[in-house]
């Protein structure tokens, strides 16, 4: 009886407190109006901002606007399992890396997501290559068991194709078939030398198959430097960059 009485009294004292809490100077949303502005040439540039970045721009351009080569067509990513950009990227890495280690079998130097910009048709500047490959990743050669290569092939197939060179395959129902490495049919009992980047080797972009190499070797060559060296070599030989879709990855769906 006494207990009940106490509880009632507590409740009475709580009443003004509850009112106080609910009467706090709260506001509530009654309306939202929303819009998106396009930042295009219809908007005047703020000269104060340009003044801040101009010294940086001038110094950068002095270094970055050097033309290092020429491309016959614009190299960009497409919707298919291979693209001009992915083939160029993988070919350039493989060719340059093989100058250091001739025993490399094939490469997946990056994922498609790692190719950050297209290369324009015509003059290619250093800045273009930095925008394509802004990251400071190093090339690595991994010696992989055939079963791990199989996992990597599975990754390539189920993600709809990735930048590769030295290998051809068909994607059937998200599985890799008719795999040829260096022109030879893939053999899961063999070991393979696979060129990739330290980022991808660490499981970057959710890749799999590369995490347990038998051996790991660094080449002392950054991915971006491989691309730059490749373009410069082509230029020195009087050639432009001519990449084609050669059917290294095809998709049946």
């Amino acid at each position: 009886m006494t207990k009940k009485f106490l509880i009632r009294w507590q409740a009475i004292w709580l009443l003004p407190l509850a009112l106080l809490i609910s009467c706090k100077p709260h506001f509530e949303l009654v309306k939202a109006k929303r819009k998106q502005y396009n930042v295009s040439d219809q908007v005047q540039a703020d000269s104060a901002i340009i003044k801040t970045y101009l010294p940086y721009k001038q110094k950068m351009e002095a270094e970055m606007n050097a033309v290092i080569g020429k491309a016959d067509s614009m190299l960009s990513k497409g919707k298919g399992p291979e693209s001009l950009l992915s083939n160029f990227f993988a070919d350039a890495c493989l060719i340059e890396a093989k100058k250091i280690d001739a025993n490399i079998d094939f490469t997946m130097p990056s994922t498609t997501g790692g190719l950050r910009n297209s290369l324009p048709k015509g003059n290619i500047t250093l800045a273009n290559v930095f925008e394509l490959m802004p990251f400071e990743n190093e090339l690595l050669v991994l010696k992989l068991k055939g079963t791990d290569v199989q996992d990597l092939l599975q990754f390539i197939a189920q993600s709809g194709g990735q930048p590769v060179a030295g290998i051809t395959l068909k994607i059937n129902n998200k599985t890799a078939t008719d795999v040829k490495i260096n022109g030879q049919a893939f053999d899961a009992s063999k070991t393979y030398s696979v060129l990739t980047s330290d980022y991808i080797a660490g499981g970057g972009d959710d890749t799999f198959g590369l995490q347990h190499p038998i051996e790991k070797k660094t080449l002392g060559l950054k991915v971006r430097d491989a691309l730059i060296n490749y373009i410069k070599t082509q230029t020195a030989e009087g050639k432009s960059i001519t990449t084609t879709l050669d059917g290294r990855i095809t998709k049946n769906e």
């Binding site: 509530e28 309306k31 396009n38 950068m60 950050r116």
Partner: protein
């Protein structure tokens, strides 16, 4: 009325009509207005994309964005300018200057807060730390435990902005860095469950600290085909968040998306592409709390 759209979340399409006369909300007393401006994934795009035949040629540019922001600030009293991360990486400006210019320009434009994206770790956690003296705005992140890193005193979980009598709580949520960033770059950063942390932050801001509006700056990404946590998952599985300003997936949303949250109230998601090619704007209008109206629904109009 013609271009006005009314919200339809869940089965509560007509909830807006609960207030006496929704077309004349201003008749009921003092109205406060707040303008939110936002960017995400600017990726070191200081200048517009070059005219090289690329898809985005001629678009973006910090100097133009600054003009837009200044114009809006001259027209509106209460403005918050926010960024959802990935400030760094994408042009040689970052490779040469390590992000100093990106942060300086954000300070010059008067950003109020930003969160951390995965690419903000591209020069290591030290690389981001080094640029902090250039920032006159806070870095908000509530689900990275940075206590064993050089950044242990450099971020805040949330910040409350007081704008013309309104209290706006803003907190940051980051993506799982494992698999996206090399361990040597994020070091001892510990990722914590974003849903749990977001619920804790939002409840604290709205219920304990009495914020009138709660904004989450998220770098989780808009949505994924699998069950991976995203802004859509976050919106559905939380309470007390009014707006998620998203990033990471570079999603250009035609209009913001209004999701029904755990309380059946509106949690809006917006993301404006990337590279600073767009600036997002949301104007919120508030009234003194009406005890009779607790639906959490309000009028939405995708025009300004």
């Amino acid at each position: 009325m013609n271009r006005r759209k009314f919200l339809t979340v869940g089965g509560l399409a007509s909830a807006t009509l609960m207030v006496g006369n929704p077309f004349n909300v201003f008749a009921m007393g003092e109205v406060k207005k707040l303008t939110i401006l936002h960017t995400n994934d600017v990726h070191s795009r200081i200048e517009p994309f070059p005219m090289d035949g690329g898809k985005l040629q001629g678009l973006g540019g910090v100097a133009r964005r600054s003009t837009l922001i200044q114009k809006i600030r001259s027209e509106e009293e209460q403005v918050l300018l926010l960024d959802a991360g990935d400030i760094f990486q994408g042009t040689p400006y970052f490779n040469l200057y390590g992000g100093a210019l990106e942060i300086k320009l954000m300070s010059q434009m008067g950003y109020d807060a930003a969160t951390l994206g995965n690419h903000d770790f591209d020069n290591g956690i030290e690389g981001f730390y080094k640029q902090l003296p250039n920032a006159n705005f806070p870095i908000l992140i509530s689900n990275y435990d940075l206590s064993n890193t050089i950044m242990h005193k450099s971020t805040l979980p949330y910040k409350i902005f007081k704008k013309g009598g309104l209290k706006i709580g803003v907190f940051g949520i980051g993506i799982d860095l494992a698999g996206l960033v090399e361990k040597k770059n994020y070091r001892e950063t510990v990722y914590q469950d974003p849903i749990q942390r977001a619920n804790e932050m939002a409840s604290r801001l709205k219920n304990d600290l009495n914020c009138d509006l709660v904004i989450c700056l998220s770098h989780l990404g808009y949505s994924y085909r699998d069950n991976k946590v995203s802004d859509k998952v976050l919106a559905k599985q939380t309470r007390n968040i009014d707006l998620i300003i998203g990033g990471h997936t570079h999603t250009a949303m035609a209009t913001p998306e209004d999701v029904s949250n755990l309380d059946g109230k509106i949690t809006t998601i917006n993301q404006v592409g990337w590279a600073g090619i767009n600036l997002g704007r949301i104007d919120y209008y508030f009234e003194k709390k009406n005890l009779a109206k607790t639906s959490g629904k309000y009028e939405i109009d995708n025009t300004i």
